[in-house]
Symmetry: C2
Subunit: 308 residues, 2 copies
């Protein structure tokens, strides 16, 4: 088993969907990633920052899931990062209603000493120079660095983003962002251009249409499970990334063949995440439920063709 460092936001979210509305609930990229990775019983540490207003019960929840939280700084006089959004009827688009950076504005991540030699580093969506500063702290070169990012940083901090992208092995990015980053409509061509920027592996997330994994001339396609109802898409991409990173940390095998499995695990966990508001489904998910869903993914995709 490999040690896993998870960097990203731990936050309050307030979410509105056609199905309902929440007050401030637990959210943030590092939270979703950690909860997803926790299902693999890996040795993982979350690195983040919260304010004095952040309930101890939320931190206890992460600890109960065996996530090391030494690296989650508590700024007593500060307030926790807050995001609020409202989903449209199709659930594929949303409006951001509020973004209050609060303590995140001065976030200076500190990797706990015991994790500076972690084999796998998962850099959740954050300012790219903050992501870089985590890599600077590692005392041994990680076997695998995974980075998630978004269009916001392409608009506001492209140079820093390109710098950190050079240093990583796997990027996870959605289809529109891959197109924006490369100026290419074809995802095959976009993935090739991103390869040239540094990452040997490119994961393009297409929401309800699944995810593509590119490596050199190889490509793997994990569809999303067709769902009757998407209740709340918040955190689905982070849950995917957490499942992906968690599975690789658990198996310690970073071959392309095993990365296919990691993409399927990530997709399976994401398919649960959207069934309830916020992190609820990830908090209460049994391994037998996960196994059952992986069998559904097999039935969904596997065929045994005769060449005629």
């Amino acid at each position: 088993m490999a040690k896993l460092v998870i960097v990203g936001t731990v936050a309050f979210d307030a979410i509105e969907t056609p199905f309902g509305k929440t007050d401030k609930i637990l959210g943030g990229a590092a939270t979703y990633i950690s909860l997803a990775a926790s299902h693999f019983e890996v040795d993982a540490a979350a690195v983040s920052v919260v304010g004095g207003d952040f309930p101890k019960s939320y931190l206890d929840l992460l600890e109960d899931k065996n996530i090391n939280i030494e690296g989650v700084e508590i700024v007593k006089e500060g307030k926790t990062f807050f995001w609020s959004g409202k989903y449209h009827n199709d659930m594929n688009s949303r409006d951001t209603l509020a973004t209050e950076l609060n303590t995140l504005a001065d976030f200076n991540p500190i990797v706990p000493n015991n994790y500076k030699n972690a084999e796998i580093v998962m850099l959740g969506n954050l300012h790219p120079s903050v992501q870089s500063s985590v890599l600077d702290q590692m005392t041994t070169q990680p076997k695998l660095v995974i980075l998630d990012t978004m269009n916001f940083w392409m608009d506001c901090a492209l140079d820093d983003l390109l710098k950190v992208i050079k240093r990583i092995d796997v990027i996870t990015i959605n289809d529109e962002e891959a197109r924006q980053l490369t100026g290419e409509y074809s995802l095959v061509v976009a993935a090739r251009k991103i390869h040239d920027m540094g990452p040997k592996y490119v994961v393009i997330k297409k929401g309800e249409h699944g995810a593509l994994l590119f490596h050199k001339e190889h490509v793997f396609y994990a569809p999303a499970l067709p769902l009757e109802e998407v209740f709340d898409p918040t955190g689905a991409g982070d849950t995917f990334a957490g499942g992906f990173a968690g599975y690789l940390a658990k198996t310690g095998d970073i071959s392309f063949e095993n990365m296919k499995n990691a993409v399927v695990y990530g997709s399976a966990l994401a398919s649960f995440s959207v069934e309830k508001f916020g992190t609820e489904r990830m908090e209460n998910l049994s391994s037998s439920e996960i196994h059952k869903r992986l069998l559904q993914f097999k039935q969904l995709t596997q065929f045994d063709i005769d060449l005629i």
Copy 2:
């Protein structure tokens, strides 16, 4: 091997894409379906209508591919159905520049006597009452009737469409049309509602995102092959349908498991079709190229997961 009846348009198309522009070239649903099905060396007959302006060389082309064309009526004094369209830069949307029904306006399909006992009937996109009239001519109940349709008939001939849908086994329809037909956004719920209208099998085509096959509580997802370049999407859906029907006719096995393979074959042929303008790629496609692409589909989708 099962006999296959293919009904649909045989037409002139004029196509404009970001890559270029054609004059009037060979097109039409029955043409694409027939050319795709011809790769399975099945006993197939095309039923359609053309005008006196239709080149004999195009009919010869179909005959050379062993498609029976007795049922392609030639109205000497009439003109052939003509469609012209222009694709936008993303290739996912297009404007129709011209639709001249010509002889299609009075199309009264006649199934050749020798094919009135065909086991498989593929009803290409046409007025639903024309599709019904083909079923009326069958002397034995086909083992499988496949129907393709489009939003136009939902707008203009919904009652007739619902009548013919009751009589068929498999419907192929795109995602937006499935949503329009049922008023449901979730494709899982939409497929269930379409099941209730008659078809035991529902194939939802999602273009570059692949195709879903629904049957009772089962679902199978064949992704589209990610392509560097889509040159001309015209006829991709019909090519998919032709591959699907052709494979089922060749194998004579209409189980759900075998239908998964049919969906993969359809997707593989469609991935070729878009590589060149019009029917060109379908006309010149070797079985070794098809086999190679099917292996690509296996690599694209197959994984061997350990449940951990």
